[in-house]
Amino acid sequence: MLPVRSHSRRVLASLRVRMASRASSAMLSRAGRIRSKLQSSLEASVLDIEDVSHQHAGHAAVVESGAAETHFNVKIVSSKFEGKSLVSRHRLVYDALADELRSGLHALSIVAKTPQEVAPK
């Protein structure tokens, strides 16, 4: 395996994320589907999605399922989080991604903030 591979995969993933909004849903990578689902359900003002599946490549559950895009870091800023506890915020994210979680998405690391919380003081 070439040492550049995981880097180029990440570049590819971010490219795919950028192309996501234009592509049809059937063609989307999981990263792209996560983006469009979170965007439409949470109306996020900031939405960073990072595919970190390569960090978990040896994970038993990942090897079994054979899925490639399994672990993501997600950072979302949305006014829909206002007045909600962390559990409720994470639930909103999980609810939007229920289909993905059923089809091989294994874990999400979630940072969920309101616009106020990220505003410079």
Binding site: A60, L86, V87, H90, R91, Y94, A107, S109, I110
Partner: protein, 170 residues
């Protein structure tokens, strides 16, 4: 019967806080014992009178009782991948490290050992991933949330009385 068995199961995971790994072993042993007891013999020669009357209709229901009991009786309950001494997932490992920091008694179940328990916990909390942490019966969340609460001081507040009780009884 389900209640009696979940009591038995529950005894398996409590006891002295120091013997955590032993607790895990006995818990999983009893759990396996329970799984066997749910399979009724299907021998056509057995007269109806001798067939077990009181078998579990639905394993998911009885495991839900187990989870309910777990979170009610254990001030800090974590459902995780692996055991606290040997977590088998980075997120579970992080959650255990954070919780251990507070010197509160930690009760754990390894969901990798029992797929049915895993789905029962998911259904109980309506939460799709592991680890899952419950404090004083309240669902707290996963590793992101416990880390957040650790950093904000909320976790210290929540565990204050548990850790204090622990010192008194020690």
């Amino acid at each position: 019967m389900a209640r009696a068995l979940s009591n038995l199961l529950f005894k398996g995971i409590t006891g002295s806080p120091a013997g955590c790994s032993n607790r895990m072993v006995s818990a999983s042993f009893i759990q396996r014992g329970m799984t066997y007891s749910t399979t009724a013999p299907n021998d056509p020669d057995t007269h109806d009178d001798f067939k077990p009357m009181d078998k579990f209709q639905d394993t998911a229901t009885s495991l839900k009782d187990v989870v309910e009991q777990d979170v009610k009786e254990n001030p800090v309950m974590i459902y995780m991948k692996g055991v606290p001494e040997f977590p088998q997932c980075g997120f579970s490992s992080l959650a255990v490290r954070v919780l251990k920091h507070y010197n509160a008694p930690l009760s754990a179940r390894n969901i990798l050992e029992n797929a049915e328990l895993k789905s029962a916990v998911k259904a109980f909390s309506h939460w799709p991933t592991f680890p899952q942490i419950f404090i004083k019966g309240e669902f707290i969340g996963g590793s992101d949330i416990i880390m957040n609460m650790h950093q904000s001081g909320e976790l210290k507040e929540k565990l204050k009385d548990i850790a204090a009780n622990q010192e008194k009884s020690a």
